[in-house]
């Protein structure tokens, strides 16, 4: 049972949702946007999240789109992760989200909910970081399109009342050679020790990492190390490890040292695999 009450709003347009948020805030309320709502429901139940007004974004058509045109892929933030899988439009993202939670939970967890959530994995953002995607953000001036690199730094950076409506990814990236590896301590379910998404773009390796730090990231220093032509895969991985941001997570899933050990081996595996595919 969620131990507090809230009102529930179900807007049908982006503008209606944004204005609702602000009118509620001006009235002294504490609204939150809700799409899958899994984090709001589970954290609310254990007193780690409070709201007195929920604004459900699922009824907004722009938030539910999955459309590919001649140049771009558009994915709505309120799409359940299973819908992203079933659409089969973005192979790296499909593999990435298939590793999140479990199949039934992914019927409820949404793309935007994972990217914008409090959980520190937020691994669905990795394919968008690697593809230099853009985010469509709803704000006071309507919709704006921003590079992911301007709007996502550890967390999504939104002003009060703004929300993620869609992602936009260049079609060319969708067919890039890629791999997504989620290393777990044991079994096939549960939280990962580390998740690595990788893609080759213009003969260069791009890497995104989740689960190592309290935030997902793509690091150009790490990528430079992994693309250093004079080094062996093991040496590249060793150099990349020295450029990891801080802090490294050290919790019941894995110690910091173990996370780095697993990451180094995972990076080596990825380098060897891509070199085996013909990249030197």
């Amino acid at each position: 049972m969620i131990p507090f009450d809230f009102d529930y709003f179900n807007p049908e347009t982006v503008q209606e949702a944004y204005h609702l948020y602000h009118s509620l805030t001006e009235a002294g309320r504490e609204p939150v946007y809700f799409s899958g709502g899994t984090e709001i429901i589970t954290l609310g139940r254990i007193h780690q999240l409070y709201t007195d007004a929920v604004i459900d974004l699922k009824g907004i058509p722009e938030c539910r789109t999955a459309q590919l045109d001649d140049e771009h892929l558009y994915l709505g933030a309120a799409l359940p992760l299973t819908a992203v899988e079933e659409a089969r439009l973005f192979p790296l993202l499909m593999k990435n989200v298939k590793e999140i939670a479990d199949h039934t939970a992914r019927e409820k967890v949404t793309l935007g909910g994972n990217i914008c959530g409090n959980i520190f994995y937020r691994e669905a953002v990795l394919p968008f970081l690697l593809s230099d995607s853009s985010f469509v953000i709803a704000g006071k001036d309507g919709l704006k399109v921003q590079s992911i690199h301007d709007v996502f730094e550890e967390h999504i950076q939104l002003a009060p009342g703004e929300f993620l409506v869609q992602t936009i990814t260049e079609k060319n990236f969708l067919t890039a050679p890629h791999v997504n590896i989620k290393r777990k301590r044991q079994w096939d379910t549960g939280y990962p020790v580390v998740t690595v998404a990788a893609a080759i773009v213009g003969r260069r390796l791009r890497i995104g990492i989740s689960g190592l730090c309290p935030f997902p990231f793509r690091s150009y220093e790490v990528e430079a190390a992994l693309n250093e032509p004079a080094l062996s895969p093991e040496q590249k991985a060793e150099l990349a490890i020295s450029h990891m941001p801080a802090p490294i997570l050290n919790d019941s899933e894995a110690s910091a040292e173990y996370r780095l050990f697993v990451l180094k081996n995972t990076l080596t595996d990825i380098l060897v695999a891509f070199e085996g595919m013909g990249r030197r």
């Binding site: 049972m1 969620i2 507090f4 009450d5 809230f6 009102d7 529930y8 899958g36 709502g37 899994t38 429901i41 589970t42 609310g44 139940r45 929920v54 459900d56 699922k58 299973t82 298939k98 939670a101 479990d102 199949h103 039934t104 939970a105 019927e107 409820k108 096939d188 379910t189």
Partner: protein, 152 residues
Amino acid sequence: MTIVSVTLMINGEERTTEIRYADILLTVLREKFGLTGSKPGCLNGDCGACTVHVNGKPMKSCLMLAIEAVGEDITTIEGLKGTPIQQAFIQHFAFQCGYCTPGFIMNCQALIQAYPDAGDKVIKEWLESNICRCTSYEEIEAAVKSVLRSEA
């Protein structure tokens, strides 16, 4: 506290009751409608004991607000009658204490409907959503495969 009257379509019938917006679907099914087949387990979306169908897809009813279910087609374990998967659970003795069984059966039924030719990989992916504390996994696998193989 805001109390609202809602009508839900459950097992093919319109059912009306009063809820808080913060009520999860599981609580409303059990406490307002007496449909106690959906079980509270972890209440955190991990165990799958509360799985129902929403528009034919498996849904952990502890992860859904009841208000979100308005206008959707909900099926609980009470709404399944004489399905092959229920018979297969009996034939293969795919339970011990039985607490997780309704959730497993709902997930299996959704899988059978969505992928009647599901292979081992898809079966495993779907059934990882549920936990059986008595570890009847091999028998559950045999039960779902017996239905899938006979319908394929």
